[in-house]
Each structure stands twice: as C-alpha cells, then as structure tokens.
C-alpha cells in the first residue's frame, strides 16, 4: 500500500498491511503488526506505532516500534524513539531520546559484540585522585 506525494491525511491512520507514505500525515499512525516506510517525500507530524519503521523523510513526533526503527541517510526525526533496535545512518538528523531498554534487563548484565550475554564484573575501585598520566598509544 502506498500513499502518494499529493495525499494529505489529518487524523488517525491504522491498518494491517505494510505501508509506504510519500505524502503528509498529521495525527496518529498505527500499524502494530506491519512495516511502515516513510519515503523521501513523506512528512509526518504524528505519533507513530508500528512493528518496524523505516524513515527516509521527515517525522515530527514520537516513534514506537516493537522490533526496529531505521533512520536512513537524509531521514529526519524530531521526537523520542522507542524500540529494541535502532539504526541511525550517518547524515540522518535526530533530536530527542532513544529508549532501547528491554523489559527484564538486569543490572550488571552486559551483552558483548558476539551476541553472548555475560555478567559484567564490577568496575575496579576508583582511584583516589588522578591516575598517573600514562601516555597511551592513541590518537
């Protein structure tokens, strides 16, 4: 399903199939079980809920996805994101907060790059003042 460039919707938009928006929507968008794509020409001023959301255009409003939010190059979001996985491309614009908190996450449980989850060890005790200014091979 595609909403074309010339279409302007004010109100609530909901459905049960994947949707691409190239036009303008103001209000609320709900596609809880489906993928929502906001195309390069899409302009959204709305609260957005979907399974997965791809942003190539502009969004003003909070964005919630049960699986993933993907802000592509030249995509723009002014609002808060909430999703277990968020990808933001270089060149994308974002202002707001990103909530990737997982229900049931325990303190001290840290996931490593290989996908394995381990209990992280407590940080060593803080040094009283500055540690020795050891030059390190950086920069």
């Amino acid at each position: 399903m595609n909403i074309g460039k010339s279409v302007i919707i004010k109100g609530e938009l909901s459905g049960s199939e994947d949707l691409t928006i190239e036009g303008q929507v103001e209000g609320k968008i709900e596609l809880r079980q489906n993928v929502l794509t906001i195309g390069p020409n899409g302009k959204i001023k709305a609260q957005v809920f979907a399974k997965s959301i791809i942003v190539q255009g502009e969004v003003h409003g909070n964005v919630t996805a049960s699986e993933r939010v993907d802000i592509r190059d030249n995509g723009s979001v002014d609002g808060d994101l909430s999703a277990p996985r968020v990808a933001i491309a270089d060149g994308a614009h974002f202002r707001g907060s990103i909530d990737m908190q997982r229900a049931g996450a325990k303190p001290g449980e840290m996931k490593h790059g290989d996908g394995k989850t381990t209990e992280s060890k407590p940080a060593p005790a803080a040094t009283a003042a500055h540690s020795a200014g050891t030059p390190t091979p950086v920069r």
Binding site: I71, R85, V86, A87, I88, A89, D90, A92, H93, F94, R95, G96, S97, I98, D99, M100, Q101, R102, A105, K106, P107, G108, E109, M110, K111, H112, G113, S120, K121, P122, A123, P124, A126, T127, A129, H130, S131, G133, T134, P135, T136, P137, V138, R139
Partner: protein, 213 residues
C-alpha cells in the same frame, strides 16, 4: 574505470576518471577510560545516558546493544557553533543549560566528549554545574580536555568502535581558541564530582572519568 594513456591523444580524448575516491578511514584510538565508563554503566539497572555530541548511529547501536539503555541526544556542539558564528558568547551559558531540561538526578552517564574545549570559563562552569545536578549518585561523566592552546578548526565526532576503542571523524567548525583547563580548574568546575580516572593521551588530551559520590 582504468584510464589508458594513448600517445598523441588530446586531453579531451581521455575520459575523466570517475572512480569515487574513498574517504580516508577514521583513525582508531585506544582508550583506557572507556572500558571503565561502560563497566560503570553496566552495573546500573536500565541506565539513562545523556550524549552531548551529534547523534552517531554506531554509538546508539553500541550502547543500546550492550546496555539496553535510554539515550538522550542533545547536540550542544550545534549550540556552540551558532554562538561561534555570531562571534559573541553572551547567552551561551543560558542556552546550553536551557537545553538540559531533564529532572535532577535522572541521568546515569554523560558523554561530554571534548565539548568543554570549545567553551569559555563562564559557560563551562554553568554547564558543569548543571551536569553534576543531573547525575544520579554513582553516575559517571566522560570527557576529553585538551592541554594545548590552539585554534580549534573542527569538531570531532567520536564513534565507539569497541569496549576499548573509538574512531574520530572531523567536521567543520567556526574557529575558536581552545579553552585550556588546568587540572585544578577542571576539579573546581565539576564541583560535586570526583575524578575516578584521568589519563593523558599522546595527543596531549586528558581523558577523564568523573563519578558522582
């Protein structure tokens, strides 16, 4: 596309080389302090981070994946740049603090990067005081402080590559003189926080981790 040179060919006969020139890879730097930052945050239940730099997708993915956290992105470099273009820092302190409307003691970690290098003393003090207020007890603040008084001609995007490395990528800035802070100035500026780790890098930058007692 390879270009074959022909003897006698005129310049116009040679097709232009349209091969895209790859961007130089950002240098990877090793950090002794970053693992401490991550370890400290991993101890906290559902940590809340405040990133004062421009949004970096790989950082969002990294911290989100490792810590399952909430991240507030407040690009204060953008604020600094606006005042630098006006060549007038009157109001910068209020503008920076005004962006941080989060409740007191609601943040577990602040990623300052090298923001304080671009601030005058008054703006730096105002911002540091606000950040100390925002941190929860036990929360941490991570920053870099340059030690050489030079003109800063670019901002740096810090992208965390692993638990102990990051990449730096420059992007244009209106030139400002770096505000060099001595160690005692830094301690005074971040009153209420204690220095948990401080390492002088080869680049003459001090990488510092503060903790709120």
């Amino acid at each position: 596309m390879p270009v074959t040179f022909k003897w006698g060919a005129r310049k116009g006969d040679i097709p232009p080389d349209t091969t895209p020139v790859p961007e130089p890879a950002a240098a990877v730097s090793t950090s002794k302090v970053l693992p401490r930052v991550i370890s400290a945050l991993a101890q906290r239940p559902s940590p809340v981070l405040l990133d004062l730099g421009p949004v970096v997708g790989s950082n969002i993915a990294f911290f989100g994946d490792r810590l399952a956290c909430k991240i507030h992105v407040e690009d204060l470099y953008n604020e600094v740049e606006q005042y630098a273009r006006k060549a007038n820092r009157d109001g910068l302190a209020a503008s920076l603090v005004g962006r941080l409307t989060h409740p007191d003691e609601s943040i577990d970690g602040v990623l300052c990067w090298d923001l304080f290098d671009y601030l005058d003393n008054a703006s730096g003090k105002a911002l540091a005081t606000r950040l100390a207020t925002l941190l929860r007890p036990g929360g941490v603040l991570y920053g870099f402080f340059g030690t050489t008084p030079v003109d800063l001609l670019h901002y740096t995007r810090f992208a965390v590559a692993s638990e102990s490395t990051f990449r730096q990528k420059a992007y244009p800035a209106t030139a400002v003189r770096r505000n060099v802070l001595l160690t005692r100035d830094i301690n005074r500026m971040f009153e209420g926080l204690v220095v948990a780790e401080s390492v002088l890098l080869k680049s003459s930058t001090r990488e510092t981790l503060f903790r709120k007692p």
